[in-house]
Amino acid sequence: MVDLILKLKDNLRVIVQILFTVLTNGYVSGFRNGGIYQGSLKQICVPGLNCYSCPGALGSCPIGALQSVLADSNSRFPFYVIGFLFAFGAAFGRFVCGWLCPFGLFQDLLYKIPFYKKTKNLFGHKYLRYLKYIILFVFVLILPLIVVDIIGQGSPWFCKVICPSGTLMGGWTLTLLKPGLKENLGWLFTWKSFILILIIVLSILSYRPFCKYVCPLGAVYGCFNPVSFYRYNVDSKKCIQCKICQQTCPIEIPIYDKPNSLDCIRCGKCIKSCPHHAITMNKSIKE
């Protein structure tokens, strides 16, 4: 019994990730009938990158919802979606990425696949990590607003040309469940499948490449990492800067120096690995 509890504790993050993915994609009828959930729960955003065209999705993707409101012909400031991002970001920062995002779980599982030469970060990591901010501004915020049709309706550009989560959870899944859709597939599906396959391959070679370099939702939540309620603290009296935390970190963040880096997904490996227990959570709330 003690062994079981210890094992559960060691794998707590994966268990939470799986449970939350199942919870937010629990519309079984969608998988059975090849349709999507159309109930009122869909007006509620889920915190992770979870395409609302997934047959099982019970909520809305915040990035998809943000683009929808911006692209709407009755242009309005997206109070609801921005409010959701502010509230979740301020509370959790990128804890969402590490513990609640289905596409993050997908990449975590892919990285477990053995490969003879794995790397934590890709070549050019120092500059590539800024790509997600460019994608956020250009594809999520600007293009839906300014590239409009004759009636003033825009498109969700990130969802349309980039999002591999939508391709995996929506495109590939619905095409398998509804063979009739295949007749309507064209170059866009091919392009998005290429992006998804690229992310899959890179996720086997390197840790969470989509989260580090592409995800606009991670870019938003990351901005809150330094100030969110859930954040890390390094006790300078205990820390001897041995850098074990950095070596253990799957993204090689120097946690001893930057415990609340914009890239940290709060996996907690640094806390477990620190031999002097210098890294803690939430102490800042007591300040």
Partner: protein, 45 residues
């Protein structure tokens, strides 16, 4: 302490924005998009 105040301000602002969005019709826009298969998202265009 200062960081907690900043996050508190963002959190409360977020909640206020959610309430505004719920009352100004934005929720309906989100729902209308979410209950239809997003052809752009799945790659049909």
């Amino acid at each position: 302490m200062r960081k907690s105040i900043i996050s508190g301000i963002f959190f409360i602002t977020g909640l206020l924005f959610i309430i505004i969005g719920f009352t100004n019709g934005e929720r309906a826009v989100v729902l209308q998009k979410a209950i239809r298969i997003c052809l752009e998202c799945i790659g049909i265009g």
